[in-house]
């Protein structure tokens, strides 16, 4: 370990320290949320600053197993933003339910460390460890409302299936490692390039390893048919955490895909392309179709997040078919999706501030009249999720579709499936709007007072959702650079 190595991993190290600091602060002032919020958010700001500083120069540390490049920087910032927003949305939901904020923030930041590690890893072992560090806190967060049957039920489903898939993933990883003889991403790619060049064949062992890894990763991103955990875990989890789960681990898993499939297994993309195409098609379709029938908004958003996985996979497929735009679109989609989906869940969480309020569609009846601002913001997020301009969601969708069209062939067909799905999706997103604006409220409950932090977070999500839709240039540059770093 050298000093340069330490500098390179400074953001990650800082994040770990922030996590520890939060728990320490909680020990110092037990049960107080303000210090926790302050330390965690300030810490995250520091982490973000460090990310920007270290990201200025591409670097590689720990013998090439840890890399800082444009992709790392982009993803790290995204993770910090996701976690920051989640922490902002947390207190309003947790406090009425007597749930502590400290453990929430700590565990969340640990999960962020995992995601950041994935983004920076160029080593199979580190990738696996990063994945575990990201998902294990996820299981805990899902069960965070430990006295609630739904929360724990979701958590145990998530945990059991997640561990199952981790084992599967690891089994595949072992085979690939055994066959390529190295854990370094670059080394794996080099070893496999012979197969891509046609000078060697894809051995059955490698194929099986690929299959196991694909399955494991598909599970993490909630691709059909490995998506079963998603609705139950999302519905059960405390709502701000659902918001986090729907974006954090998903984007993290996509980061894993970028490092693993795009970089390490990039030479084999001809082989995994057809699989991704099929996965994308059925993921989009099933997610949307089942979402149509949901009456619980959280569950509906869970299925919709499955569908969004499908759209992102379209970008991946386009990349595999030879278009860099696919990768850029995937990254753009990830960023846009993060903010709009977090925003949508934040509104759901805000409504559930009063303990006992369900996330059923009825909760939204007349919201546009009771709390117009929340109603309008929710409409904006839902429109963005639908893909209506001028929102980030629209541009993201257009981006992956453009890439798919460019890729041609079967991938272009995915573009058509994607837009038909988007049209179907409009039905269930707009149904929420129907409830908010076109139905009368069921109860004449007093409007809730929401915390300032929630408003700040919502404002941030809103601004980003709009800005990425109207002036996406900065984000475009960022995803372009990030994609070039690995493409």
């Amino acid at each position: 370990m050298t000093a340069a190595d330490l500098v390179t991993i400074a953001p990650l190290a800082a994040a770990v320290l922030v996590a520890i600091a939060v728990i320490v602060v909680d020990l110092a002032w037990p049960g107080r949320s303000e210090p926790v919020v302050f330390v965690s958010l300030a810490g995250l700001a520091v982490v973000a600053g460090l990310i920007v500083v270290t990201g200025a120069t591409a670097a590689s540390a720990f013998g090439g197993s840890y890399t800082v490049d444009a992709l790392t920087t982009f993803l790290d910032l995204l993770f910090v933003a996701i976690v920051g927003l989640t922490i902002a949305f947390g207190p309003d939901y947790l406090r009425p339910r007597d749930l502590p904020l400290a453990e929430f923030a700590t565990v969340l930041i640990f999960a962020m460390c995992g995601a950041m590690l994935i983004a920076a890893s160029t080593d199979l072992l580190l990738l696996f460890l990063g994945l575990e560090l990201m998902v294990l806190p996820g299981y805990l967060l899902a069960g965070y409302h430990k006295t609630d049957g739904y929360s724990t039920e979701g958590a145990i489903k998530y945990f059991l299936l997640g561990s199952f898939s981790s084992a599967i993933f690891l089994f595949g990883l072992a085979f690939v490692w055994g066959l390529t003889g190295t854990t370094r991403v670059a080394g794996v790619a080099e070893a496999l390039s012979g197969i891509a060049a046609g000078s060697a064949v894809l051995s059955p062992g490698l194929a099986m390893g690929l299959a196991f890894m694909t399955t494991g990763v598909a599970f993490k991103i909630a691709a059909v048919p490995f998506h079963y955990w998603t609705p139950d875990a999302y519905q059960g989890s405390p709502t701000p955490i659902t918001g986090y789960l729907s974006v954090g681990p998903k984007v993290g898993a996509f980061a894993l895909i970028l490092r693993l499939f795009v970089e390490a297994l990039g030479p084999l993309r001809e082989e995994w392309l057809p699989v991704v195409v099929v996965l994308a098609a059925i993921t989009m379709t099933l997610g949307n179709l089942v979402a149509l029938t949901q009456t619980n908004v959280k569950r509906m958003l869970a299925y919709s997040s499955i569908a969004h996985t499908g759209y992102m996979l379209v970008g991946l497929a386009a990349y595999a078919a030879g278009r860099m735009e696919g990768l850029e679109g995937l990254l753009f989609y990830g960023a846009a999706y993060s903010f709009m989906n977090l925003g949508a869940f934040a509104v759901v969480a805000a409504l559930q501030k009063r303990a006992g309020v369900t996330s059923g569609l009825d909760t939204f009846a007349g919201l546009g009249r009771r709390e117009p601002v929340l109603g309008i913001l929710m409409t904006l997020f839902l429109l963005s999720l639908t893909g209506i301009p001028p929102t980030a969601g629209f541009f993201a969708k257009a981006y992956v579709i453009l890439a798919a069209v460019q890729a041609g062939g079967g991938v272009a067909f995915l573009a058509v499936i994607a837009v038909l799905n988007a049209a179907a999706a409009a039905f269930y997103y707009l149904r929420v709007v129907v409830y908010m604006f076109m139905r009368e409220p069921r109860t004449e409950a007093e409007p809730l007072r929401h915390g300032r932090l929630l408003w700040v977070g919502l404002a941030a999500a809103t601004v980003l959702t709009i800005v990425f839709g109207v002036f996406p240039n900065a984000l475009l540059d960022a995803v372009g650079a990030a994609a070039r770093a690995i493409g």
Partner: protein, 104 residues
């Protein structure tokens, strides 16, 4: 001979993995399922050690990775058992197939 062939180790690993899978799919008790997962992780470890033993240049790496996997398994077990205990408090049963309040 047998003990000297990579195939034997890997097949053994595969069998263990399959047994773990079966247990995971078939058992009702959450802890049984957890144990099945441990079996699967051990199967992976077996494969890793086998590769380390037989593929030139991987020996030490294999061992290190295997140890890491053991540590991960420990962490997983911690988390898993914590969740099992939490849900047991809520539901008073360790039988996972009765946790179906959320569906469709």
């Amino acid at each position: 001979m047998i003990a000297n062939s990579l195939d034997a180790y890997l097949i053994l690993s595969g069998l263990l993995f399959a047994i773990g899978t079966f247990g995971f799919l078939a058992r009702r008790n959450a802890i049984s399922m957890l144990m099945s997962i441990e079996l699967m992780l051990n199967a992976v470890n077996l494969a890793i050690v086998a590769f380390g033993a037989f593929v030139a240049g991987l020996a030490e790496n294999g061992s290190v990775i295997a140890i890491m996997v053991i540590a991960v398994a420990a962490a997983e077990a911690t988390v898993g058992l914590a969740i099992v205990i939490a849900i047991f408090r809520n539901r008073r049963t360790p039988l996972v197939d009765e946790y179906d309040a959320m569906r469709r």
